[in-house]
């Protein structure tokens, strides 16, 4: 089961890298970066998963037998925030470039 998830993560990251390699439209490159971030976040959480354990939340009155590793989940939260910031920055740059060039292509008009 975990192996299938890892293959899925690799496919997501691969699709994102393919997007950055091939696409000439700035918005599509930004979407590809966001897809790479999703793949990496999924990879982090899947790495932290221990078989048939519960979420790492201590509730009063309940005893726990086995918890999933909480550190990758904290790392994922940070990574999601960073991914959102990268998308926001890249979109503002794309807006500025669109106003300057009139097109969303990374090469500009005549080049």
């Amino acid at each position: 089961m975990s192996n299938l998830l890892f293959v899925l993560c690799a496919a997501l990251i691969g699709a994102g890298i393919m997007g950055v390699l091939v696409k000439k439209n700035m918005l599509k490159i930004i979407i590809a970066l966001s897809v790479i971030d999703s793949g990496v976040n999924m990879f982090i959480i899947t790495r932290g998963y221990v078989d048939s354990c519960t979420a790492p939340i201590l509730e009063s009155g309940k005893s726990f037998s086995c918890l999933v590793d909480p550190i990758p989940q904290a790392l994922t939260l940070t990574s999601i925030v960073i991914g959102a910031s990268v998308t926001a920055l890249a979109l503002s740059l794309a807006i500025g470039l669109y106003k300057n060039r009139g097109t969303l292509s990374i090469k500009g008009i005549e080049k």
Binding site: L33, V86, L89, L93, L97
Partner: protein, 493 residues
């Protein structure tokens, strides 16, 4: 000892309080920013005695490691981290001093906030002892670099910033995957603890994948060949004070992080032929590209890449002399390259264009700038008695002990560097002049003259820097065992 988190916190505080001060009184922004940067510089300088005492860990929140458990986030202060930190402190002061005239009054607040956030980010990378902390501060530094590069708002700056953002976020994605793989192999995020556990496990396929990913991830920020492609456009489109600041901070977040992780975490101390090869290719590729540039600041950025090749070459030699040469070259390089960027910025600011073929005869009107450029050009080519000669002499000696062919290549690159700087000196400062300009104001020539003075002083008396700062730093960088045992001191009974 003050906790090393205080300068980082002071930069963050200054970044968020400068707009408030600006709201109260517009003219108080620049003095307040200058005061904050001077205060941080003094605080970092006061950490000198604690830095020379060895590897001093500082655990945030006082989560000191006890027997068998390490849970805290640590900052490690050692001589080489202090060296890079003091460079960041010095360059933040000079950048704020230079930017008074250049940025002007309208948007100064966002510029000062960006500069302080950049200093906080890079200082965090330099002082940290924890891998995920390094990742977070590196991402913070990347974001602020995007803002600084795109500051001028024209098409070239936005394009350079977009390219930089895509490459940098791809690189930090690789870095993050590598960190997660290391975490899943060892179970911890502290650099010394990972090194300790990897030393017991040996190099297995998982940590090999992590090695490649981290090498690529930090390599983009270090900008050796062929991962340097974002750098010339980005550093030439930034505002001039910001270019100097970014050059000052690049080696802490790039070369230092790479060397630290390679030597401590993966245990690669000694002669590293891969770094030697990368250094040689970077040297040649950078200088060959710099010779044909007609844009002033882009030429300087390509020369920065080729000098980075010297540093990687000398660091890859693995000897004490090589590492000393490499770190001394970092110190000298940021001094004279910062001065060259300031001189280029002064010329571009006064004449209004960036192409060297359209400038001419400026030595008559801008004598101080011409003097600063001449000192910088002679320093970067390794002409005595300037500081570039001192560090290059050590690198020539270090490479000669390994292979004389490397010394020949280093000398060739020095000659080509001198050639291209003479060409630009003739184009900009000598020759026939078409326009009458004035000299730049004192807040802009002040940093240039200060850096020129430092260049000449370090060139005449290199033993001062070598004995007090560089040799302890080189010794600290080449000794991973002492690093691990000092940071993990509480864990073993």
């Amino acid at each position: 000892m003050i906790p090393p988190i205080i300068p980082i916190g002071l930069y963050l505080f200054a970044a968020f309080v400068t707009p408030v001060v600006g709201r109260i009184n517009r003219n108080a922004r620049w003095p307040f920013a200058l005061l904050m940067s001077l205060l941080s510089f003094v605080l970092i300088a006061s950490l000198y005695s604690d830095a020379q005492a060895g590897y001093t860990p500082y655990w945030l929140g006082n989560w000191v490691p006890v027997v068998g458990t390490l849970m805290g986030i640590g900052l490690v202060l050692d001589p080489v981290a202090w060296l890079f930190g003091i460079l960041i402190g010095l360059f933040s002061v000079l950048c704020i001093m230079y930017s008074k005239e250049e940025i002007g009054d309208a948007h100064a607040t966002r510029y000062y906030s960006l500069v302080f956030l950049a200093c906080a980010g890079s200082l965090g990378v330099v002082f940290t002892g924890d891998l995920f902390n390094l990742f977070v501060f590196l991402e913070l530094f990347n974001f602020v670099c995007v803002g600084l590069v795109a500051y001028n708002g024209n098409e070239r700056s936005l394009n350079a910033s977009f390219n930089f953002l895509v490459l940098a976020s791809l690189a930090t994605t690789f870095l993050l995957v590598g960190i997660i793989i290391l975490y899943s192999v060892t179970g911890t995020l502290n650099i010394a603890h990972i090194a300790y556990k990897l030393g017991a496990l040996g190099l297995e396929p998982a940590s090999l994948v992590a090695l490649v990913l981290i090498f690529i991830g930090i390599g983009v920020k270090t900008s050796f060949f062929p991962l340097h492609t974002w750098m010339p456009e980005a550093y030439s489109s930034a505002p001039h004070g910001a270019s100097m600041l970014l050059i000052g901070m690049k080696y802490g977040t790039g070369l230092y992080a790479l060397l630290r992780i390679l030597s401590v975490v993966f245990g690669f101390v000694g002669t590293s032929w891969l770094l030697i090869l990368i250094g040689v290719v970077t040297m040649l590729g950078g200088v060959l590209m710099a010779m044909v540039q007609s844009d002033f600041k882009r030429m300087l950025s390509y020369h920065a890449i080729s000098q980075l090749g010297y540093m990687i070459l000398a660091a890859g030699l693995g000897t004490m002399l090589g590492m000393t040469g490499s770190l001394f070259h970092v110190l000298n390089h940021v001094l004279y390259k910062g001065m060259l960027f300031l001189a280029a910025g002064a010329v571009i600011w006064r004449t209004g264009e960036t192409d060297v073929n359209k400038m001419g005869g400026l030595a008559k009107y801008m004598p101080l700038t011409a003097l600063a450029y001449a000192v910088g050009a002679l320093s970067i080519s390794g002409v005595p008695p300037f500081n570039g000669f001192a560090s290059k002499w050590i690198i020539y000696n270090a490479t000669f002990q390994v292979n004389p062919l490397l010394t020949a290549i280093a000398l060739l690159v020095s000659a080509l560097t001198l050639a291209s700087f003479l060409k630009v000196f003739h184009a900009v400062f000598l020759g026939k002049g078409n326009n009458v300009v004035k000299e730049v104001p004192a807040t802009m020539t002040g940093p240039m003259m200060l850096l020129a003075l430092l260049c000449i002083l370090l060139g005449l008396f290199p033993d001062i820097a070598l004995q007090y700062a560089i040799e302890p730093a080189a010794k600290a960088l080449m000794n991973p065992g002492a690093y691990i045992s000092s940071v993990l001191a509480g864990m073993f009974g």
